[in-house]
């Protein structure tokens, strides 16, 4: 894993993305905000990978899109390379976006079926470097195809002729072609088979090392996140539950939700897996339209008390570099894996 430089690349401050959802009648329409991202703050250094974990619907993808300004955040700041982005528009915003690219979960669906692979990968070049000659563009595309493990002679093929793993390589090449400083990877390996996952994870880490990339690595797979991340952030219903370095969060998670998540991971080891005492949370994720009062996790939390229903716990540093949002934070009562 490459060392992290100290320069801050991205700072996200109290970011909120609320979607207005119609809940009332059609004439006198009432709207209730769905708080998909609700006050998220963190920073990312050059060359660093921040893993973002949490269950379906907890706001991971929305956070990514809010940072890229693909959705206008409701509130809060996104400072990238020293520039505040939420107030930007037009040309200014476009110039910033060259440095922040995204790779999506569903490899095939995220590629235009009517474009050749070469055109797909070159597309960002035509946006950000419209004056680049066709020959230069093609040379760049071929070089990058080779780098991500695609045969350059396949440049004129179409996406459906490629497997899932190869489509993901195409998506990664498209993101990398403009030399971004940061890539948001939104579940980049979740749709792939185990044997292909490892190929793509290795590729992303190699690219990071070679180009000093920063990665926001969104995933619900805690084992993969542990493998790729320097630091990890845990989300639940749009809020940050815990952020810490990878080693502290896996070795000593301080938030009950993180502890339950880690304990829920099935371990491919029969003796360990058959004998482990899993922390099993009751119930399901509450509706984000109607989140619990106080701590959003309280309806499933084994440690919840009265105060949890009344007071929203603040995200605070409880150990060096280790932030937790919980009234009763502390190490787990039992071994988790």
């Amino acid at each position: 894993m490459p060392p992290v430089e100290n320069a801050e690349l991205l700072r996200v401050q109290d970011l909120k993305v609320h979607f207005p959802i119609r809940t009332g009648g059609i004439v006198f329409g009432q709207y209730t905000p769905l708080k998909a991202v609700d006050g998220v703050s963190f920073s990312l250094k050059a060359g660093e990978t921040l893993g973002i974990v949490g269950e379906s619907g907890c706001g991971k993808s929305t956070l990514g899109r809010g940072i890229l300004q693909l959705i206008k955040p409701t509130d809060g700041k996104v400072v990238f390379l020293g520039n505040e982005m939420t107030s930007m528009a037009g040309e200014q915003l476009r110039a910033q976006r060259q440095h922040m690219q995204i790779v999506f979960q569903d490899p095939l669906a995220s590629l235009n079926p009517r474009m050749t692979v070469g055109d797909i990968i070159a597309e960002p070049l035509t946006v950000f470097f419209p004056k680049m000659s066709v020959a230069e563009r093609k040379a760049k595309v071929k070089a990058l195809m080779a780098k991500v493990g695609l045969l350059p002679q396949m440049i004129n093929r179409y996406p459906h002729e490629f497997s899932g793993g190869q489509c993901q390589r195409i998506g990664i090449a498209r993101a990398m072609i403009v030399d971004p400083k940061m890539v948001i990877c939104d579940e980049p390996v979740s749709a792939l088979d185990v044997s292909i996952q490892a190929q793509i994870v290795n590729l992303l880490m190699d690219l990071q090392q070679e180009f000093g990339l920063s990665l926001l690595f969104i995933s619900h797979d805690l084992s993969v996140v542990r493998h790729v991340s320097h630091r990890v952030m845990v989300l639940y219903l749009g809020k940050v539950m815990e952020i810490a370095s990878r080693d502290s969060i896996y070795a000593e998670p301080l938030h009950p939700y993180t502890q339950a998540l880690i304990s829920a991971v099935p371990i491919p080891d029969p003796d360990l897996e058959k004998n482990k005492q899993r922390i099993v949370l009751g119930g399901d994720l509450p509706s984000p339209m109607n989140p619990p009062s106080g701590c959003v996790f309280r309806t499933r939390c084994p440690r919840a008390t009265d105060i949890c229903a009344q007071v929203v716990p603040k995200l605070e540093e409880k150990a060096p570099g280790h932030q937790v949002a919980c009234h009763h934070w502390g190490p787990p009562a039992q071994a988790l894996v």
Binding site: A198, L261, A264, L281, D284
Partner: protein, 348 residues
């Protein structure tokens, strides 16, 4: 131990406009009473179609060859009305997508009592009481209220519990669960796995667990069968497969997963290349294009399952993983048979 299901040389073929797809290519195995068998493999390896064929549920363009016997009765080619008497009663199936397993416009209670009516001739209050018992068994909160709800009114985790409850209604002898937790969040998956582990103790049903997730298999199964290209690559008891894999593919799969329980590695082991094209399976070993131990014999001759250690079988020409065959003719494998070069990712 008596076999509930005996499968012999089962094959599944699909006719498509671009030619025939060989989804399952001759597999044989038994599932014994009260045993939990895991079928693992990557997507497209034929796991689901193998059991769809056993259940007589293949798509119209599919056909089944070979034999699958439930308690000695041949299922392949059995008329639908006879099959219907066994399906849902003696053999039950749980699907990955709980919406496929449930009828959307029928209330939960109705769907459950219908099954009891059809198979057990049980009706009215008795059937409803039995349905309620089953929902309680799978620990659905407020079970009585759920009987009156429609599938879409329940969360994914609850629907999966309802499917399990439905499958258990008639006390089947064989339960086939196809990726039962794949679509669920980890915390909900943990609930279902815990439930399945408990049910394994209380019901006598034999269970077949189909999954691509080795972690799930490790926790629930007694035996494991690893599939690739429509064949079994390796079979054995769960501890043998996880702790002493004998087939290069099994070993590769196990080492390509990052694990919470081990020190982080800088680079993951990655099996190069991609899963095979089932329309153009190579002669010889289906894994040859990705195998680091490939030699001439693998190209020429299909390896058959053979006992590698007591109770553990592998389909591989190697004597053992510690004894690779040094093959000077290996360069004879045509370059275009190899998938795009992906090895460089690992060695870079």
């Amino acid at each position: 131990m008596a076999a509930v299901l005996e499968v012999r040389d089962l094959q599944v073929r699909f006719a498509t406009p671009d030619g025939e797809v060989s989804a399952v290519n001759g597999v044989s195995f038994d599932v014994n009473e009260s045993e939990c068998v895991g079928i693992v493999g990557e997507s497209g390896s034929g796991k689901s179609q193998l059991f769809m064929a056993v259940m007589g549920l293949l798509a119209k363009n599919g056909r089944t060859l070979g034999s699958a016997k439930y308690r000695g009765t041949e299922l392949v080619g059995m008329p639908v009305d006879k099959l219907n008497k066994i399906r849902g009663d003696k053999i039950a199936m749980i699907f990955q997508d709980s919406m496929t397993g449930l009828t959307p416009h029928l209330r939960i209670g109705r769907q459950m009592t219908e099954v009891l009516e059809e198979h057990k001739g049980m009706g009215g209050a008795d059937a409803r009481a039995r349905a309620l018992d089953m929902l309680n068994l799978v620990r659905i909160p407020e079970a009585a209220r759920r009987l009156n709800q429609y599938p879409h009114e329940l969360s994914g985790g609850m629907r999966q519990r309802v499917m399990i409850a439905m499958a258990l209604l008639c006390e089947p002898e064989l339960l086939i669960a196809d990726e039962p937790t794949t679509a669920l969040d980890v915390t909900v998956q943990a609930q279902i796995l815990e439930l399945m582990a408990d049910l394994k103790r209380v019901t006598k049903a034999a269970v077949v667990l189909i999954t691509h997730d080795l972690g799930t298999v490790a926790g629930l199964c007694d035996k494991v069968q690893v599939m690739y290209g429509g064949r079994f690559m390796e079979t054995g008891d769960v501890r043998q497969i996880f702790y002493k894999p004998q087939h290069p593919y099994t070993k590769g799969l196990l080492s390509s997963m990052p694990r919470l329980t081990e020190d982080r590695r800088t680079t993951l082991y990655a099996i190069p290349g991609q899963p095979p094209n089932l329309q153009r399976l190579p002669a010889g070993c289906p894994f040859q294009e990705r195998c680091e131990f490939v030699h001439q014999r693998c190209v020429d001759e299909l390896p058959l399952l053979q006992e590698a250690r007591p109770g553990q079988f592998k389909a591989c020409h190697l004597e053992s993983l510690e004894h690779p065959v040094d093959d000077p003719t290996r360069a004879a494998i045509p370059a275009e048979a190899m998938p795009p070069v992906i090895r460089d990712v690992r060695t870079a």
